[in-house]
Symmetry: D2
């Protein structure tokens, strides 16, 4: 509790990594939307494993079956349910009695009293982000139809930094979604890849930072306090396994600025009111100000590594050496980019629908 998120767009996810399937129910989609399935599947394949040597060689055929909410190729207004069957699972790779450090194994054991489906991380698996990506890709399409574009790049891997988003437009954002390893600076990208390859060789893993942006959001979306855009986006992002931090605009580095520097000066460009800088990430008082909404999330290194680690046997309490077999990502960040984008799309669509727009 709870696997349901949202106010006007309710997203309910279900499933376990090695059970029959995983899926999502999306309630509140406007009727008459014609999902662009090739494009949706393209986004889902960006998340799918086995795309390059930098990710896990596990294969998933994540094409979902639409169980409801679609008629003559268009959304009906009723809840849309999509089911993804699980395949290619190797359940024998896990011993539930020895929790993997950094994973949810131990807390699952406590919370679910030993009844959890522990295979492959069960309901804590990163695989649960597949239905989220499906749902978010529909939301992204609806937003794009109204001129709102979302994109992201890998900002950092193990300390190696990419450039930051400066001027972002639809073309740049679209091109990033076509890159296997989306960065702004190719040289930085190569160094990052090297780090991932090195970690893989050492049976270890690395994490990184994803920077995500949306353009075209009109001023006035969101609310002060508990329904602030930041609150909504953050609550969603921390639902993505491995995310340990989020910052908007200048984020943590705004704390080293003076107010006179941090404040975004208000200017007029033609008819539009803009700000000269965007240290607030497009949000003041929880509400969009018309500038691009920009945030970064910190993704921790994949907990499942081949290197020997120390854990305990929860039956006896005794120390136990653990060497995780199975196939794991040396770095989850490249696959997480589209998950962050998709989850963000869900947030924005929900906030915009809650604003009473786009009836």
């Amino acid at each position: 509790m709870s696997n349901t998120w949202g106010q006007m767009l309710k997203v309910t996810i279900f499933g376990e990594s090695h059970g029959p399937g995983i899926g999502v129910v999306i309630d509140g989609l406007p009727p008459g939307v014609e999902p662009n399935f090739p494009e949706i599947y393209r986004h889902m394949s960006r998340r799918a494993p086995g795309q390059s040597e930098l990710t896990t060689p596990r294969k998933e055929s994540d094409e979902p079956e639409i169980l409801s909410g679609l008629f003559h190729g268009k959304t009906t207004g009723a809840p849309l349910c999509a089911l993804i069957r699980n395949q290619d699972t190797r359940s024998s790779d896990y011993d539930p009695a020895v929790p993997r450090p950094g994973s949810a194994d131990f807390v699952a054991q406590i919370k679910y009293k030993g009844c959890q489906d522990y295979r492959g991380g069960g309901t804590f698996s990163g695989r649960m982000t597949a239905p989220l990506t499906f749902a978010g890709s529909i939301a992204r399409q609806i937003l794009a139809d109204r001129g709102i574009y979302i994109g992201a790049h890998i900002k950092q891997i193990e300390g190696i930094e990419d450039l930051s988003f400066e001027i972002v437009d639809e073309t740049l954002l679209a091109s990033l979604t076509h890159a296997l390893f989306p960065v702004l600076d190719d040289e930085a990208g190569r160094k990052m890849s090297d780090r991932i390859r090195q970690a893989k060789e050492e049976e270890d893993s690395v994490g990184g930072i994803i920077e995500c942006v949306a353009t075209g959001i009109p001023a006035g979306v969101g609310s002060p306090f508990f329904d602030s855009i930041e609150s909504a986006v953050a609550s969603m992002m921390f639902s993505i396994p491995a995310v340990k931090g989020i910052e908007f605009g200048a984020g943590f580095s705004i704390t080293a600025m003076r107010g006179s520097q941090a404040n975004d000066e208000i200017i007029t460009v033609g008819e539009r009111v803009l700000t000269r800088t965007n240290n607030n990430g497009g949000i003041n008082g929880g509400i969009s100000n018309g500038m691009p909404i920009l945030f970064r999330v910190a993704v921790k290194p994949t907990p499942s590594i081949g290197k020997t680690q120390s854990s305990i046997d929860i039956r006896s309490g005794e120390e136990k050496e653990l060497k995780i077999k199975g196939r794991h990502d040396p770095c989850i960040v490249p696959r997480a980019v589209v998950v962050v984008e998709s989850a963000f799309a869900l947030c924005l669509l929900d906030r915009i629908l809650s604003n009473g727009e786009w009836k």
Copy 2:
């Protein structure tokens, strides 16, 4: 929408900075709790302005009037409403047609169509954190009665760093709540104060980072995905005006670690299962693992500064120089410490009650 937060503990805030009053309705408090009012007022006074030269000289007498939910000095189980009257307001200090950079003035104008109470920031005012502090102080007391202690310190001001929390116990956390400027390293604290003083002299402002921790939370509180502890805490923290980032455990710096380093090794200490490090900040898979829950929030510099800034007149669209008069904090961080602690207490109590504990 929405000024209500929580599942089993619903907190509703209301009010505007220069209107008749501000307040909070707390629904879901267990019956029979005897609020320790001197202690609650002590916490509220930590947030109140005018405490030192480092904060605004405005005076507030924020002692709330309890309107309901209390009988014979104990909570009744019915909603507890507390009202704080507004006083000592200088409404003439503001011109609503020229939005202050970095503030919510412009978005309020758009969202509320010019009907917002713009005086003193209206409902976007930091003053709204007073009822939140009141509510959180009750939650903190309930938690303390069950051995859960919360504390925080100023981790950073304009780049000057305090030490990090290492071993935290009840005594340390309590002593921090008695400091006007809570830091772990006094020398760092002096430097920070100097920076604030300097910013004040230059009619400017600075921001900072607050590090907050809770000890004694049993393993198993929280949920995967949308009701994760991180999601709940983050959604609450971004309700606090000026917060632009949050990170749990090692946070953003975990992205520079290898998995073998970031993973917290699981150990047994007597009967208890602990981890050797706490890079995950006491949370795995959204659920508490029994270690201290630790996070940091980034607080931006106070937007209202005396220095001349550039804005526009929203009636004409013309550029306009702005020099904000009035009395403002050169740094909101010292006063925000108790707000973060209190808001965190509300999150924890809600998550614990949602877990079905403490019937």
Copy 3:
């Protein structure tokens, strides 16, 4: 838990009958609404006690103080909080250890472990409908501005029946709100009044049925299943103390009809699609069909009566004769009419705002 209702219009009530005050926070009101206070107070006075010999002689001055959400006489878009101070309470009239039959005394004792404010029914008091009437009167005004009118009459008292609503228009509905004892058939009204007078003389009480209607709701408001208009209205109506039943359209009597009779034939009148009859009360599949929305609620006789009743002493479990002193309504129905109307207005406004209309 929970004293908060609604999705896009969140209504939070608080207070206890003999505590400092009762009140309501309304979140989600559109900005720029100019509350017609004389009209709102007129509606509140319809609920107030002491209006005629048929109701309790207790006096209440229920004029609320607006604490937030209003600026220059208009709603700001921020939460509007209204406070009503309690006065003229006679706390000595109650002995908490002997629960009054038909009241919430016993369940309050169990649920709140003896900590409840038992004076005057505490938070279970019918007095809590005063803030609900205040909030609903604002909603009613907003609805009327868009051509949606609400009205109600006393359909039945102790078996004496009034006529049913047939053709309803704005004028009829308005005139009913000006009647001390609103009925369609004056003769039936006189008989009802006699019954109430007779019950009063015998230190007893009677109940009745209220029929409520709204005209002007466009087709398409509401949802199938859990957010059906019926679900929303019913959940709200059962929040009103003493309501024990609700039915829409023909209601329970539809069960004696054949389908061919119950089905409302669809017709065209000019451009408008209507139905010849309105057995479904303006709702199909949970959604408004453009016909008047019509329902009836059953209100039980006031539990507090002067007649001797049998109860127990909860300390000893021993049987105890109970003769309730104090001043009570021999019939709550006349005062409940405006409460039903107001609560209904809140439901309709919330459903309409959730439909994304009236941004």
Copy 4:
């Protein structure tokens, strides 16, 4: 919006009558529950069509596939998703341009702008109660394990009355679930069956009243106002298509009683506090008082009848005679009994879990 119901037990339904499938996601089930599938399927078959000449001859094989939340035959604590595939659908039976009187055809057209899946009623279909029955049957099992038993009977068909529940025990309630046509008085049952048969012959339909009860609920479950047991149960019951009224305890007939008669006298039986009568249906102030919780719902006659009816063609607005082919229930009431029981079980389990019981 919204197809999700509940606070601590979140139930999300999806599907359309003639789409690929219908289903339910249940979030918040305690871990370790071993669903008794033969018993669950038995309850589902009570709802299934084609059981007797009194219901539709359509066949459904409604055995659901469990997609998640079950491991080694026990609930895992993660969301349980069950999918029922659609079969045996005759989509050609419907012409969407001529809305069936009494159905949701017209409102669906307006709300969903012509994009709804109109086949077989789409998402408004009574078939959506199959997943609700599945979910409720698990809830019923969990309740029975704690001594809470639920049962119902047909109280009335087209004016023919059954007896009322008097003393109810587990055995009686269980035996009713095994009857094809559950009544307390067999003679009344025969007369009711005759009426249904007669309506069927005349290509017409009849409605009726279902009386439902639960025993064993401890005092103190529920809340005053918006989360009252009555509010929760009513909001759920009005989600069941065709329900047009609900009443608790004596319900509408309590309005003809005096207070001295309606008030349930409080007595002590051994250690237990009971009431002599149960006119309040086991609920005071929205909270259970320890007596059986009892309510009745009014079910309207099936709108789909063979008899010629008058409607319009929504394209032209012209009047149109309508003779519905297809196979329909002359009376939905016998099949709705288990739906009411199941939906009630969901309500009770949610309210009890929200009370913090049964951690």
